[in-house]
Subunit: 214 residues, 2 copies
Amino acid sequence: MSGPREPIRLPEKASTERSDLDALLDSTRVGHFGVVADDGTPVVIPTMVVRDGDRVLAHGSTGSRWMRRLASGVPAALAVTAYDGLVVARSAFESSIRYRSAVLFGRCSHLSDDKERFLDLITEALIPGRVAEVRRPTKAELAATLVLALPIEDWSLKISAGWPEDEDDDVAGPAWAGVVPVRSVCDAPLPAPDLRDGIEVPPSVRALRSQGGA
Amino acid sequence: MSGPREPIRLPEKASTERSDLDALLDSTRVGHFGVVADDGTPVVIPTMVVRDGDRVLAHGSTGSRWMRRLASGVPAALAVTAYDGLVVARSAFESSIRYRSAVLFGRCSHLSDDKERFLDLITEALIPGRVAEVRRPTKAELAATLVLALPIEDWSLKISAGWPEDEDDDVAGPAWAGVVPVRSVCDAPLPAPDLRDGIEVPPSVRALRSQGGA
């Protein structure tokens, strides 16, 4: 077949480029915090993450035991991974995935001042433009929300963005090789069962369809 | 607007249904292992995961330090998370995401017998039908691959599949509410730069477009 060709890149590389890290953090909404429990065993906590300059914000309920543990400043690791495609090689062994994967290490702090601004940032990261369409948070809502910040200081980043690297014998053989890009998309919005008649889908939600789901 | 309506479900629930866990594990290819380093700090390792009956398989290079540490049987946690949509409430506070999130706890064992069968399982999970299209792995390839198995014994599962749960005052207000489903899709396959002329895209790769990217 014929089709678009991309330049050859190394199949996997460690990147020390802060811009690569920011691009990953700014396009991926789910992260996984690793933390150590009192008994010394590991726990992994999935959470939404949003970059705010030189730190990553996460939020949760003040009722969440693991969020409170993270807020107490214990050592934490935060992984943010994007799955970008399948690398289909001529052998099973060389087949893999295209991905970008960052792990940040450090201790979270608990942001109590200016919480409203951080919650706006999180809302806008999830649904750009939504803050202007909804009411402001109440004091009770702010009090029920824990906002954590992990500094972007100690991190590693791996990017697998390349092509199959088959042995010469396999390249000469009959098998196909290439990449199948994978991406996230937003489908048409579904109205809530209790939505009142006559309320149109707002601009923020309409715009999501063209952006992909992150 | 008008559109499809779904039955109301609880917005977030813990599930103890093994079938819900299996559905998540069978449709999601990226997992995150949590493990504790020698210095007592947490580490998170992203990896591909595939369910094989009552265990989850992961594989990596025998040269990977963290995979070897997992293989040694230290306590591990494995999180597998699917991001299924945006819950757009009438307030920022009630807005959230639809997701399914499992965490499995236990110790990995290192599978040395029958490794070829496990690698076939992993290849088929990633690209169904691909095993029949490529050569068998060599002894050297098998020797370079570490296959880990984590038993499905001690796990928790949370499913957020519901609708915005706004306060009555907000429901009576002007803001829209609903859900924007998010899913992963495969784009058209891109041929490798070194693909020889005349080799067609195989059935396994053609079939991926209709399946979504997981």
